[in-house]
């Protein structure tokens, strides 16, 4: 390559190719094991928090030594009469169990003493 070529090369280098836009951000190469590990840690943390909350709740709300939760206000008959709820009443206040069962049956079972209740109509037939 002679001087002439060298000078022409320099002339060409006075022209700069336009710089392209910066590369968009990329969050590292794909490493599936990292995502799996992160998911596992997250599940463990959630589990630990849930466990802690469940342990703390009876101690915070209930009388000492009693692990049962206070009864929530009755909102619907099915909830009021659930097996868990009745078991709770039986543990906390056995004397009130009869009343609770009676209330549950009144709320849940069909009434037969109303004028047009299903049982009343069937009895007539």
């Amino acid at each position: 390559m002679d001087d002439r070529d060298g000078r022409f090369e320099e002339f060409l280098r006075d022209f700069h190719p336009r710089a392209p836009k910066p590369l968009p951000p990329v969050f590292g190469p794909r490493r599936p094991w990292m995502w799996l590990a992160a998911a596992a840690v997250l599940i463990l943390i959630c589990g630990a928090i849930a466990d802690r909350l469940l342990e703390e709740r009876p101690l915070r709300n209930g009388p000492p030594g009693l692990t049962a939760r206070p009864a929530p206000p009755a909102e619907n008959p099915a909830r009021e009469a659930s097996l868990g709820r009745l078991s709770q009443v039986a543990m906390e206040d056995p004397s009130g169990l009869d009343a609770a069962l009676g209330k549950a049956s009144r709320d849940l079972l069909p009434r037969f003493d109303r004028r047009n209740s299903t049982l009343s109509v069937l009895a007539k037939e």
Partner: protein, 163 residues
């Protein structure tokens, strides 16, 4: 050729050093500057995401990958596409826009093998040995392609380059 994953910093360095020349190279196959940039971005993003293993000669790989991707993109380019002067991919240090457009046009008219040797040598600052390795030809072949290409450009750019 043993492939390996390449560090982020290394990809950034390659992009800074060879990105403009690679866009110029991609543009020599394509009409649209935006498509040429997308082609180069695509090649670098594959490296950053670890979707391809980096060969031992990264610059040679980059030129090959850009060429293949640009040729694929050219098939999808509109037949109506034409050279847009506003998209000139050169900036002239002396502000001579006419010469910049003439250079781009002359470069585009060179045979592909001469064009790639010129771009690698002049704008990627590679030695002729590196160009020969990157293009997979003997050193003499790379050198003669360079000389022929340079002579043709000199002829076309005579009005702008007084010797």
């Amino acid at each position: 050729m043993a492939g390996h994953r390449i560090a982020f910093d290394e990809v950034g360095r390659l992009y800074g050093q060879h990105g403009p020349a690679l866009v110029l190279y991609a543009r020599s196959f394509l009409w649209d500057m935006g498509v040429a940039e997308d082609v180069v971005h695509g090649v670098f993003l594959k490296l950053l995401r670890g979707q391809v293993a980096m060969p031992d000669a990264p610059v040679a790989y980059l030129y090959r990958a850009v060429r293949n991707t640009a040729l694929n993109a050219r098939r999808d380019e509109s037949r109506k596409a034409s050279f847009n002067e506003r998209d000139c991919c050169f900036e002239s240090a002396s502000g001579n826009r006419e010469a910049a457009l003439a250079l781009e046009s002359a470069l585009r008219d060179l045979p592909c093998e001469q064009r790639e040797v010129l771009i690698m040598r002049v704008w990627s600052q590679m030695t002729l040995e590196e160009v020969a390795t990157a293009t997979g030809v003997p050193l003499d072949t790379a050198a003669s392609r360079y000389r022929y290409g340079l002579a043709k450009l000199r002829e076309r750019l005579k009005p702008f380059h007084k010797e």
